[in-house]
Structure formats: C-alpha cells, structure tokens
C-alpha cells in the first residue's frame, strides 16, 4: 500500500513538474515568469521521469484494471461536437443532398433531436454534457451570474483571485503565492470518472473547462479562456482619421502621421507586477507606400498586404527586468495609404508560454503548438464584435473563423490518431459563430435583412453544414468496427429579430425600482435595491432580491415561492405590442425544473423566449428604460438563448439507438456504460444504450 502511494506521488510529481503552475502570476491575464527555456527544461525533466517510472506505472495500472474487471464494449468513443448545429437545418440540407454523409449515418445509425439544457446556452448545456447532471447540480446557469454583494454581473464559470502574498520591491509587486483561478462548474466530468479507472481521454475545446482540471488524459480549454488583457476578447482598431470612436468589444486608436507613414502604440495587458498596474504598450510604425506596407514593432518587422491576415505574430511585453509576457495576434491592414486602417485580433494567450493554464497537462498546449504552429487560444476566438461594429466585414470575419477552424481540425485528427483506446471529445464552435452572425441572410423577416447581402452570404450558413459533412466523412474513414461515434450539438439556432428587456418589464410592473425616473444605465447604476423585489441579469434569468442572500435583499424567503409563481404567470405568453407575437412562450420556475445543491444560485425564473426574440442587448447588463421591446440591428442575428423546447440540438450515432428521446446529459452515463462503468447515482442522465444493446455493440 505504501509502495503504491509512493509511486502515485512520484507519478503525480512527474505531471506537476511539467505544469507551469508557478509560472503565472497576477490576476486578470497574469504573466508568465518562466521563459520558454524553463518550460522546455521542465518538460524534458517530466518526460524523463515519466519514462523512468513508466514500467512501474504500467504494472500498477495493469493490476488495477484487472482488479476492476471492466470489459469495455467499445475500443474508442469519439464525440464530435458541433456547437449549435440545428436539427431543422440539418434535415433540410440532408433532404437537399448537401449532407450525404450525415444522411447515410442517420440511416445506418441514428439521428435524434437532442433535448438541450434549461436554459439553452452553451456553457450550461456543455456542462450537462460533461457531468450528466442538470444545472442545479453543476452550478452553471448562464454566461453571467450576479455578485450578490454588488449586484454586478460576473462570469459564471471562473473566478480569479489575486495572490494572497505580494513582496513590495520599489515600484514592483512580486507575488510570492499563486493567484487562484477557480472553475465554478461543480460535480465532475465523465472523463474524470473514466480516468479514475485508467481510461484515457482527449478533451479538446469542450466549453467550461477553464481552468483545466487534472485527470488521466489530455485537455485543451476553450470557452471563457480570456485574452492577455483579461477580457473575453477585445480587438484593437487603428485609424488615420479616428474621431475617437467607441466600440463594444474593442478599442479604437488614432494613427499619428510620421516620416515613413504612421505611428501608434499597441495596448497590451495591465502590468500586474507594477505598483501602478499601468498598461504595457508596444510602439510601432506603419509604413505604407506604393511598394507595400510594413508594420515595424520594437523587435520585428511584419509585411502587410491589404485585406489579408498576417500569420500569428508573437508579441512580447516587458513587465519587469527579465520578465516578458507573451501573446499572439493577427493583423489585417484594412486600408493602406492616407486613410490607413489597421485591425488586430484580441491578444490570445501564447500556447507556447501561456500566462494562465489553458491545458492539462500544462505542456499540452505547448506540445500542440510545437506540432502545428501557433493557434487561437481565446475561448470565443471568432471576433463577432468586430463584425457587429463593422470594423471587419463579412469576408474578413468568415476568413478568420474558417482559419481558426482549420487549426482545430488538425488537432482533432492528430488526437484521433493518438487515441488508440478511450475517449476523444472535441467541440468545434465555428458552427455557432457563423450562425449567430449570418442568420439575417436566411430570414427575410429580420430587421437587418438586405436582399443584396442575403444573396451574397446566403450560403455562409449552408457552408457550415456542408463542410461539417466533409469533416464527418474524414472522421468516419478513421474509425473501425470497435469504435463508436457521436456527432452532437448543444442546441439549435433561430433568428433573433427582437429584444426583450426584462429589467424594463420588471420596472414597468413595479418589481424593480429606479432612483431616476428615466430608468437606469447598465450595471443597475440607478436601481434602488431597498425597494426592488426582482432583477434580470444575463440572457434569460430573473433573480429575486432575497433577504439574507443579496446585500440589500427585501424579499422574505416565505414570499419567494409566491413571487416566482406570480412572475412566471405574468411572463408566460407575454406579447410584443408592436408585432402582436407571443414573445415569451414559457417562464420556468427554477425550483420546479431544476434540482440539486446549487439551485439556490440559479435565477429563480428562467425565461423561455419565443422564436425571433431574445433578451435585449442592454438588458443583459442591467440597463433599464421605458422600452421593453426593441429591434435587433446587429449582425449577431441568430441566437439560441430561447425556450429550450424550441432549440433542440442534434445527436447522430454510429450505432442504432432504440430510444427516440435523448437529453444532452444522457451522453455522460452512456459513455461510462460503453466502458462498462456504472453511472453514479447522482447523475440525472440515463444511458441511451440498454444492457442488451451494449452487448450488441460489443459483437460488432
């Protein structure tokens, strides 16, 4: 027993030594202290130790696996996640012969509409996929959650805390302890359970896996990984003739005239090592003339071509003597000459020197970068705000999105070839981003529908489905008889024509009170919390201002159930006076539809919008006005944050399933059963394969 424990410790040490756990400091983006040499050196040490103890590990594993007596029904399970793939559109394209491989798979295996989570949002739904439980047990109810002390919206999935101890050295603040980056998704993912039984998994870009958790497998994080500035992805846009424009999701800066063309500065992350935490900057010159254009940075010169993305460029920001923080960007010269315009992507964490942990083991991101070159690491990497703000046009946005897709496809096929036994789960999210931004070209009823534009970009969404068919064909070609494939999405897609500001509705109905008779700006700045009974935050949730939970709570616990019921009754069937349509098909009482230890953190009321509606843009962050309904005039014209009954996802299976009903949380127990493991009692999902079906699967 002692020997086993010692070996396990040694084995764990070999993993930990390779982690850059002490390599990042500071909150927000944090900085890498260790240079690439040290990361490389530690990786070599870890690899050496790993090789050294491999025979012992092998024997231990062999004995344990034999002792457990598992007899997997399959060799490999591959989960090909296509975020937001819509069953209705898939059916249409299959019927039109544009998705022949999917059609064939649906005939030889199964095709179901996959019931999504309540609410129908990616962080919620993929967490159900990972854990097999309902949101009341995994604690993710939206992208956002309220800070109950300040009522301000914060990210629901991650909490970053400053280092507890800092050494003051003149103008520098050197952290002695690590900052903590906490994953707020609770319960445990199925790959952790598989790993506890020595079944290896590759988990690539599955949402809500940041920070990565240790397990027996390899993982690359995705959704909610920040950029180097600590934001969810903010672009930079320089203009020669800037009038100081303000942009959501980005920053506009002015190019100053210089001898060779233009000069400017590139804003980097906050210097968390400095007392004043000033912004780190790089100065540059943009030389643009008849011979071409060149971007001159302190340590490199980059050739620019108009309307072409550069390759990934590594930027180094000097935080302190000997300490640089590294990030990755792509530039696009939008216009050359006298009216020069330059775009830069958000500064992605450099996978070769990540300022925060983005993979498990820590060197896994570096390993992928060494194999395939630099890649986008930002959680939501496709720059939808640059398109909304018309900094990028449709062509540039699509090019960026498909470029990122190519990076991920390479990783996928590499992982597929490396997964000899066990699980590979990957989520591609270009499917989601392109549908979000091009639904206006499919829907003549959308306020931004323009027949010329629709003609030009009508195929943008169709291409997503057609190319998914090609991906599926290439995947199937790599699979054997003993492998099982699931192709799935977390939700479907619908047009987003009109916004509903739930905060404005609550104000008009008297549940929310503002100090200003005109309402409130974002962040509930003018809300009178001492007289407010309910508030909305995020994309579908209404929270009660509960005494004892919220800082200025006024609703007694004894009143809560009645108030939830009252809100649900009033909201269900709410009509848009301008169009006469029902805007909300059903408002769900969280206590009736969710269960588990975290229901108390959920919005008390989850609003299910009708097709065409969604939470209004301003309302998500707590703005209140006299306008409840508004037109959606952004390129972001498709959405899924509506009544879950209206946006199921897809589930294709390479084996026939007898059931014709499936919920996204059923995948986890199904995968466990395929490896002859019982689903834990706390899981809400049920295996989609009965014992007799599993036996049939094993006979293939």
């Amino acid at each position: 027993m002692k020997l086993r424990r010692s070996l396990l410790i040694l084995m764990a040490a070999s993993f930990l030594l390779s982690l850059p756990a002490n390599a990042y400091i500071g909150p927000g983006a944090g900085f890498a202290i260790l240079g690439s040499f040290m990361v490389f050196f530690l990786a070599i040490v870890a690899a050496f130790l790993s090789v050294l103890i491999f025979p012992i590990r092998f024997v231990i594993r062999f004995v344990q696996v034999k002792k457990q007596g598992n007899k997997p029904f399959v060799k490999r399970v591959v989960v090909l996640g296509l975020d937001g793939l819509d069953p209705m559109l898939a059916e249409r394209f299959m019927a039109e012969g544009k998705m022949p491989t999917f059609k064939k798979l649906s005939e030889s295996g199964s095709f179901l509409r996959l019931k999504t989570s309540l609410p129908a949002m990616s962080p919620v739904a993929w967490s159900c996929f990972a854990t097999g439980v309902n949101p009341g047990k995994h604690n993710i109810f939206d992208f956002l959650t309220p800070d109950r002390n300040s009522y301000l919206p914060v990210l629901s999935s991650t909490k970053i805390r400053d280092p507890a101890r800092v050494l003051k050295l003149g103008r520098y603040r050197i952290p002695i302890s690590k900052p903590t980056i906490q994953l707020l998704r609770k319960s445990q993912p199925f790959w952790k359970i598989l790993g506890d039984h020595w079944i290896f998994s590759h988990i690539i870009r599955v949402p809500i896996t940041f920070p990565p958790e240790p397990f027996y497998g390899a993982q690359l994080s995705a959704m909610c990984v920040p950029d180097l500035r600590g934001s969810q992805g903010s672009f930079t846009y320089w203009r020669a003739a800037s009038a100081g424009g303000k942009h959501t999701g980005g920053l506009e800066l002015t190019l100053e005239k210089s001898d060779g063309g233009w000069k400017g500065y590139l804003p980097g992350p906050e210097n968390t090592l400095s007392k004043d935490r000033e912004e780190l900057r790089l100065n540059f010159e943009l030389k643009t003339n008849g011979k071409g254009s060149q971007l001159v940075l302190p340590d490199q010169k980059i050739e620019l071509e108009e309307r072409k993305y550069t390759d990934w460029i590594t930027l180094k920001f000097k935080a302190a003597p000997g300490i640089k923080v590294s990030g990755l960007v792509k530039f696009m010269l939008l216009k050359a000459g006298d009216a020069a315009e330059l775009y830069m992507t958000p500064i992605n964490l450099d996978p070769e020197q990540p300022a925060m942990p983005i993979s498990y083991p820590g060197f896994y991101a570096t390993y992928l970068a060494k194999l395939f070159g630099s890649f986008a690491t930002l959680g939501l990497a496709e720059d939808t705000w640059a398109l909304n703000e018309r900094v990028l046009d449709e062509e540039a946005f699509l090019k960026q999105t498909w470029d990122f897709y190519e990076e991920r496809e390479k990783m996928f096929f590499h992982c597929l070839s490396r997964t000899r036994k066990g699980v590979l789960a990957i989520v591609f999210d270009h499917t989601d981003r392109i549908q979000h931004t091009f639904f206006r070209c499919l829907d003549p009823g959308h306020p931004l529908y323009n027949s010329e534009e629709a003609k030009k970009y009508r195929d943008a969404i169709e291409q997503v489905y057609v190319k998914a068919d090609g991906l599926l064909a290439r995947t199937l070609a790599q699979l054997g008889q003993k492998d099982l494939l699931f192709v799935m999405s977390d939700h479907g897609f619908k047009s987003f024509r009109r916004g509903v500001n739930l905060n404005s509705w609550l104000w008009k109905e008297g549940y929310l009170v503002c100090k200003d008779p005109k309402g409130s700006a974002e962040m509930f700045s003018e809300v009178d919390w001492t007289r407010t009974r309910a508030y909305a935050l995020g994309l579908s949730g209404i929270y009660l201002n509960l005494k004892g939970r919220e800082k200025s709570g006024v609703v007694e616990k004894s009143e809560a159930a009645g108030l939830r019921k009252e809100l649900c009754e009033k909201l269900t069937g709410l009509k848009d006076p301008q169009t006469g349509e029902v805007a909300i098909t059903k408002a769900y009482d969280a206590y009736e539809h969710l269960s588990g230890p975290y229901v108390g953190n959920a919005p008390e009321v989850l609003v299910g919008y009708n097709i065409g509606f969604r939470m209004d843009w301003d309302g998500t962050l707590g703005a209140v006005s006299d306008q409840v309904f508004s037109e959606n005039l952004k390129s972001w014209s498709g959405d899924h944050c509506i009544d879950p009954a209206l946006v199921p996802g897809v589930l294709f299976s390479s084996v026939k399933l007898k059931t014709n009903e499936a919920w996204i949380g059923d995948l986890a127990p199904t995968i466990l059963r395929l490896f002859d493991l019982a689903a834990p009692a706390y899981m809400d999902g049920k295996s989609l394969l009965s014992d007799s079906e599993l036996k049939e699967v094993s006979k293939r």
Partner: protein
C-alpha cells in the same frame, strides 16, 4: 488520483456528510464540504470593482 489539501474530520461526521451529500446530489463528499465552506466565506471576500468587471466581460459576444 489528484489531490489538494486535506482536512481531518471525525469519522461519524464524515459518515453523516457522506449520506447527506449523496441525498443532496453532490458528486462526492469533497464537493459537499467545499461547497459548504465556500458558502461560509463568500461574504467575507471582496467584490471586483465595476471597471474590473467591465474589463473582464468585454468582448463576450452575447452581451454589449
């Protein structure tokens, strides 16, 4: 397989916690204990400033 810090509790309390953690829908006793402790210290922790929050949320496609 992968550890964190360990805290000792009495065996009978552990048994009671185990029973109720299963009933409540936690995936493990560890998760129950962590959740209980998190709830207790939540109010003692400070909140991010509005500027810090705005910065962190910037760029999230779903919100403006």
């Amino acid at each position: 397989m992968f550890g964190g810090e360990k805290i000792k509790i009495k065996k009978d309390l552990y048994e009671r916690v185990k029973k109720f953690s299963e009933l409540a829908g936690y995936s493990s006793v560890d998760e129950f204990v962590e959740h209980t402790l998190e709830k207790e210290i939540k109010d003692l922790e400070g909140s991010d400033s509005e500027d810090e929050i705005k910065k962190k949320l910037k760029g999230l496609g779903y919100i403006s």
